[in-house]
Subunit: 325 residues, 2 copies
């Protein structure tokens, strides 16, 4: 039997644990005859088994198994870390993850659980994802990790990370698909009442970010604020450089150093961000919205929207624009 | 503050509880400035607060609050019942649900939780839903309830039921939308990394049912098996009646009494069921699949598919047909 161990900790939200139990821990009479290999065994593991942990929602949760059993599992799932914005990852968990990984176990994170994998060094030099709220922080704390906040999950073979909350469902179903094939994964998804594969990445769920710049500080920040104020106009590098009071060449260098992306790429992202509330509102065609946020044409809008959001403007409007079910 | 109480019980799966905590129980700094009314307060309640309950997945769960607090809440969520196929609903819960409902509280179920609402008489004469696995059983045990297994949730104002597992997410977001508007619900959905509204109902997730008939038993059953064997041909009532060795009129009466639906409606459902594995496979156009399962045209196929599955054949193929992410 393939043992799945899931980590429980003080201050955990029960949703991600619930996902892991729902996929790997339920009895599965509906799979009889479909499985070539036995179904999973599930162990909920904590630093101190038998000790009550406080869960978000105001109840207590007591795990039966310890970190030795977590280190011995075939797949280890870390469904979060306590207080990602300020917390410390348990040294015992870090050691157990390293042991498990060296043994050849598959290490998986959901949401902020990526911080634990990063702390164990398992993500160095690899692509990884986490909840979009934590992506910047993960990148900052662990510069060797290539953080990609746009996707629902990243599969590096023996180390897998998923984006926020419900993206854990996508990754757990992906594991079932890897282990048992699409037919079994479809059956599990149907009982779960979720699609076995979701269109689009996490990017479509990320709130439009207002850049945290103080325009008085420097020319680049000033130019960014100026661009946001003139998003509907056709913008050029030279105009932005002028707003920053720099030469084009110097502006490009400063902008890229500051933002990790080129000025025009940043402008496109801001235009897409500006289009989201317009798509959510009932008025305006896609053509009008494209023009209102400064795209040359609806086709250009659709192209960039698809690349960044991994869905179409129309599908986005259908998902996020509707008022009542 | 609007108090949400969620019921915890021995043998519960943690997923649905996790959904309720994720929507109503997390701290919500991202909503500051967006809320006209205070956010929810959440209480996990059990028959015997302070007593450890066994959760699916092999861990213990201890609720802090009792049924008196559940009966006093503004919204009560029942996230399941122990062993829907054979279990009894706690008499204390039934009494508390009645008290809460009489007080004007909103009563909500997820998945098999509908059995508790039905036991309290709150669904009599009303539309309701539950997990597709339990729909027949709920209808059988509570004939006064109009069970609809096709939708993700049913909103009767003060009594709301949702379909299986993840449909609880859809219903909880619907409650947030009702209470705080679409913008707030969209923000909660984004943090949850789920769409605030899903296309399609539960029907798209229901496994194709093989009718549980013994063809030797009677003429109607024999005709049904014959129809399944000849699904690709154009089928008429007269053909089916002949296979049953009955007159058309007598066949219609017997068929409807047995199956609760007309022969042609049943045939359409079987044709759609037969189309699902074909749509999941990579080969065959929608036109070819329509013909293979006996629809006159792709347009007829699309029409019936949309009505029954609440999604299109192409969207279904996109969701269920893909092998690897």
């Amino acid at each position: 039997m393939h043992d799945v161990a899931v980590y429980a900790f003080d201050g955990m939200a029960p949703f991600e644990l619930g996902v892991v139990v729902e996929v790997f821990g339920l009895a599965r009479p509906e799979l009889s005859g479909l499985l070539a290999a036995p179904w999973y065994g599930l162990k909920v593991c904590a630093d101190r088994p038998g000790t009550a942990l406080d869960a978000v929602g105001g109840f207590a949760l007591t795990a039966r198994h310890g970190l030795d059993e977590l280190a011995a599992a075939d797949t280890v799932v870390v469904p979060g870390v306590p207080n990602a914005f300020g917390g410390e990852v348990s040294p015992g968990l870090v050691a157990a993850l390293r042991t498990a990984h060296e043994r050849g176990a598959r290490i998986v994170s959901i949401c902020s659980g990526a911080f634990a994998l990063a702390a164990a060094g398992l993500l160095d030099g690899k692509d990884a994802t986490t909840h979009w709220r934590y992506a910047d922080l993960l990148q900052q704390r662990h510069p060797k990790v290539r953080v990609n906040p746009d996707v629902l999950y990243v599969d590096n073979g023996d180390v897998l990370t998923s984006a926020g909350s419900a993206a854990g469902i996508d990754l757990c179903l992906h594991l079932v698909r890897r282990d048992h094939g699409a037919k079994v994964a479809n059956t599990v998804a149907r009982r779960f009442v979720v699609p076995p594969h979701r269109d689009g990445g996490q990017a479509q769920f990320i709130e439009a970010a207002v850049p945290a710049v103080e325009p008085e500080d420097d020319g680049v920040a000033r130019s960014m604020q100026w661009a946001l104020d003139h998003l509907a106009s056709p913008l050029t590098i030279s105009q932005l450089a002028r707003a920053a009071r720099m030469s084009d060449r110097s502006y490009l260098r400063h902008f890229t150093a500051r933002n990790g992306t080129s000025p025009m790429r940043w402008v496109v992202t801001q235009r897409i961000a500006a289009s989201l509330p317009l798509l959510e509102a009932p008025d305006g065609t896609v053509e009008e919205i494209a023009a209102a946020v400064g795209f040359e044409s609806a086709a250009t809008f659709r192209h960039h929207f698809g690349r960044v959001m991994r869905t179409s403007p129309t599908a986005y409007r259908r998902s996020f624009g509707r008022g009542v079910a």
